[in-house]
């Protein structure tokens, strides 16, 4: 460590203004502060600071996403093995298969996003901000595993530039960067974002998992099946036509976007975020409350013309991206409501609208993404009303005196 520190100190002058590599100053600074917490001391105000900084905050979110990531790898392999009619599911082969599938998607998302961040930071002569550390891992997790790499690159670039950087960078964006990436893909390349063929990979990779899909294979997600369901009862099946249990849905052994199928792993992530106090329990709780309530209402008035209303409230919460959105998307502090009262309202409406869109709009089998984006737009308005109430209280006090 000492020698690394010495090495950094030796090459540092090259990156200072006037040095040979001055156009990489931000990049160097980013790596330096990543490796060694800067020893800058306070110049005004408090003489001591809490040890928590934004790097650690972001890393904790990434750690909270790891259970979902690992499960996503397993599930990708598992769905593929199911599809090719295997009767044995060798754990490490499944994991390796899933890893090979997701690895390049993570690399592309980070390379494109961080590349843009590095350039912008250098251009603005600012420090590199850590926000994309989280977005970069979220993007592969919320996309179908068969999304082409170039699409991920294009959507990430669009999102980082037009949703984050034009607003001023991390901390100033109105919409969640990862979700806009997903929305961009959803609206620009709809055929690659839904349907039977995108959630379950059928080709083998590196010689692992070679085989062809069995007869009767269908790669539709449970919500996709719901959307096309006909009749008075729901028939949810896995990729080879066997009926799905609630346990499968909860564990996440179902087709779906890479990292968002397992409610169990999402809950592990939620526990990490809540125990460390990084995510707001108010938001998570109220999203689930809103979703559950709307699910109950929909189920009470179940009708075959809106087949999703035949799902129970508990199923609504475990299927699709709902739980993932509640824990990792709605809680993004920058784009969520910032006042405590506002968080309850914001979260509740995210939950309600997600189920509302999912149930009563047959055009979109899943509503979580749109619900969060919609409420991102309304979060400042909610906060405005909460802040107004504080101001009115003060005004009333003044008027009472006069």
């Amino acid at each position: 460590m000492k020698s690394l520190r010495k090495y950094l100190d030796r090459i540092k002058p090259n990156f200072e203004p006037g040095g040979k590599l001055q156009s990489f100053h931000s990049v160097f600074d980013g790596f330096e502060t990543f490796l060694f917490t800067p020893s800058t001391t306070s110049r005004s105000g408090v003489n001591i600071h809490d040890s928590l900084d934004s790097k650690r905050m972001m890393i904790i979110v990434v750690i909270a996403l790891i259970p979902c990531l690992l499960f996503g790898m397993y599930n990708t392999g598992y769905q593929h093995w199911l599809a090719i009619g295997a009767s044995e599911f060798p754990f490490w082969q499944l994991m390796l298969y899933g890893f090979c599938k997701v690895f390049w998607r993570i690399v592309v998302a980070y390379a494109v996003g961080l590349g843009i961040e590095f350039c912008v930071a250098q251009w603005r002569k600012e420090e590199i901000q850590e926000g994309f550390l989280v977005s970069g891992i979220l993007i592969p997790l919320i996309c179908p595993i068969e999304t082409p790499l170039w699409m991920i690159a294009v959507a990430t670039a669009f999102s980082v530039i037009f949703v984050k950087e034009v607003f001023g960078g991390t901390g100033y964006n109105i919409f969640n960067v990862a979700l806009v990436t997903r929305a961009f893909l959803f609206f620009a390349y709809p055929s690659h974002m839904s349907g039977d063929g995108v959630f379950v990979p059928l080709k083998g990779t590196l010689g692992i998992g070679d085989g062809t899909a069995v007869d009767g294979f269908s790669g539709a997600t449970p919500l996709g099946q719901v959307a096309t369901n006909v009749g008075n009862t729901l028939h949810l099946t896995n990729v080879v036509g066997e009926p799905l249990t609630y346990w499968d849905m909860f564990l996440g052994l179902i087709p779906g976007s890479f990292g968002e199928t397992s409610t169990l792993c999402i809950l592990i992530g939620a526990a990490i975020l809540l125990l460390t106090g990084i995510a707001s329990w108010r938001i998570i709780l109220s999203v689930f409350a809103g979703g559950f309530l709307m699910g109950l209402v929909a189920h009470t008035f179940a009708t075959p013309s809106y087949p999703a209303s035949m799902l129970t409230a508990a199923e609504q919460l475990t299927l699709g991206g709902f739980a993932f959105a509640a824990v990792f998307m709605a809680t993004d502090p920058v784009t969520a409501a910032r006042t405590n009262t506002g968080k309850y309202i914001y979260g509740f409406l995210v939950g309600v609208i997600a189920i509302l869109i999912r149930t009563y709009n047959n055009g979109y089998p899943e509503g979580a993404m749109l619900a969060v984006l919609l409420m991102n737009a309304f979060a400042p308005l909610i906060d405005y009303c909460v802040v107004q109430s504080n101001m009115r209280r003060r005004m009333r006090r003044l008027n009472a005196k006069a």
Binding site: F34, F36, P38, D50, R56, T170, R394
Partner: protein
């Protein structure tokens, strides 16, 4: 027995329980005991410590001064004077850039302190009472909400708040150190009575010996720092509205005033807690206001280099060198490591138990033992990312994040509507401490207060 119990209930102070806030656990607290006398080699008076005063000098270098001799007065309100805390000679008047008055140095004489003659009698006439406060220099030690400045003479205060305890990290236990001061507090309250049209409130800790004071309402505040801050106490008793003035003074000032009224003698002696993890032997000392640091911490600092010596507490105190002085209103010195010589490999990933944090991802959070934090900001400055962090440590009906944004935007209406008249930087010091974005909140708020003060007056 029964009657005794009843009477105890009768005189028990009103209790306000505050939940929000944070007690930072730092090692090096001073044990209560008889304070050693420390005679300063030099004393300094720093005009910047008296916000709202534009200083005009009354003395020049070489002048002989007594305790209470005016050193400078306010340019606009001549009657506001800042006086010498010791008898001696004006050694130097230090000016900085653009001849800004930085400090006045006084060399104490060897003879016992002689003070100016004052007609120190209680009077029901507010003008006479005010005159004594102004002439004795105690006026300049009172603060006014809004703005946290020295009050403008003339008007009456809506209420007067005496804060009888300091809840800041390692703060001196004024009540224990001023044990026999109850009569002084009573005479101070009696003296201040004509200067307010409302009440005199005394904020104490539950279980305080100050249970009932004639003419004042005693209120006990339970809960973590900043429960001892005047702003927090006012906000939870009767918030300041636009156009109102509330005066605040701390216990040492009240006792000083009481002493003046009872004995007729003016004394700027003060008890100072020498604290912090880089102090060899934390202790209380008795010295003069503005005493030089070298005398105060003589031989008591653990190490030579990379030490931060703070006049005041770690949250709001001013980092000063060993060649500097105690600063008003602090009766505390804290020494912590500076930390600029430390390298922290992958600091953001650290699981070290030495790291102090409110966040549960640091194992040290769960250990109930004192820390020795250094002055590093532990991260880089960022935009406000996390929400709801500041609120947790501010027990006031104020939305700190929005107030700070209004200050940054210099939006006067918003600042007013969001309660800038109720708050001063010390109240949000904890917000600045916990902020993961490492923003200079106290500075931003002070700039906002200065801006609105200059615009509206």
């Amino acid at each position: 027995m029964h009657i005794k119990f009843k009477s105890h209930i009768h005189i028990m102070a009103k209790l306000i329980s505050l939940k929000k806030g944070l007690d930072i656990n730092i090692s090096g607290s001073a044990p209560v005991g008889t304070p050693a006398n420390v005679c300063p080699a030099t004393c300094a008076v720093v005009p910047d410590d008296f916000k709202g005063i534009v200083p005009k000098m009354d003395v020049k270098e070489g002048d002989t001064v007594l305790v209470g001799t005016p050193l400078f007065h306010d340019k606009q309100f001549y009657d506001i004077k800042v006086v010498s805390p010791v008898a001696g000679t004006v050694k130097a008047i230090v000016r900085g850039e653009r001849r800004k008055l930085e400090r006045i140095l006084i060399e104490p004489s060897q003879t016992p302190d002689e003070c100016i003659n004052l007609d120190a009698k209680c009077s029901s006439d507010p003008v006479k009472a005010q005159r004594l406060l102004l002439d004795s220099g105690i006026w300049a030690m009172i603060r006014q909400r809004p703005y946290g400045i020295v009050p403008r003479p003339g008007g009456l205060a809506r209420d007067i708040f005496i804060t009888a305890f300091d809840s800041a990290p390692l703060a001196p236990d004024h009540e224990a150190m001023l044990a026999d001061s109850l009569p002084m507090i009573e005479s101070a309250v009696k003296f201040l009575q004509p200067l307010t049209s409302g009440h005199i409130y005394i904020g104490v800790r539950p279980g305080s010996r100050i249970e009932a004071v004639k003419g004042a309402e005693v209120i006990a505040f339970e809960g973590p720092h900043p429960a001892g801050n005047a702003g927090v106490q006012i906000c939870n008793v009767k918030p300041v509205n636009k156009g109102e003035q509330v005066w605040t003074l701390d216990l040492p000032t009240a006792v000083r005033l009481g002493g003046l009224v009872t004995t007729g003698k003016l004394s700027y002696d003060t008890i100072v807690a020498v604290t912090g993890c880089k102090i060899k032997q934390p202790k209380y000392i008795k010295t003069k206001i503005g005493a030089d640091m070298a005398s105060v911490v003589a031989g008591n600092i653990d190490g030579d280099e990379h030490i931060r010596l703070i006049a005041g507490n770690v949250l709001t105190g001013i980092p000063v060198g060993i060649d500097h002085f105690l600063r008003y209103p602090y009766s505390q010195v804290t020494a912590i490591p500076e930390g600029d010589d430390r390298t922290d490999f992958l600091g953001w990933a650290s699981l070290s138990t030495e790291k102090m944090s409110v966040n549960h991802s640091f194992p040290g959070h769960f250990l109930k033992r004192p820390f020795c934090p250094d002055a590093r900001i532990n991260g880089g400055r960022r935009a406000m990312i996390m929400s709801g962090v500041y609120e947790k440590v501010l027990p006031m009906d104020i939305m700190p994040e929005y107030l700070i944004k209004a200050c940054l935007a210099k939006n006067l209406d918003r600042m007013e509507q969001l309660g800038i008249y109720e708050i001063i930087p010390e109240d949000i010091a904890l917000c600045e401490y916990v902020d993961p974005s490492k923003l200079e909140l106290q500075k931003i708020l002070q700039d906002g207060i200065d801006y609105i003060y200059n615009e509206l007056s």
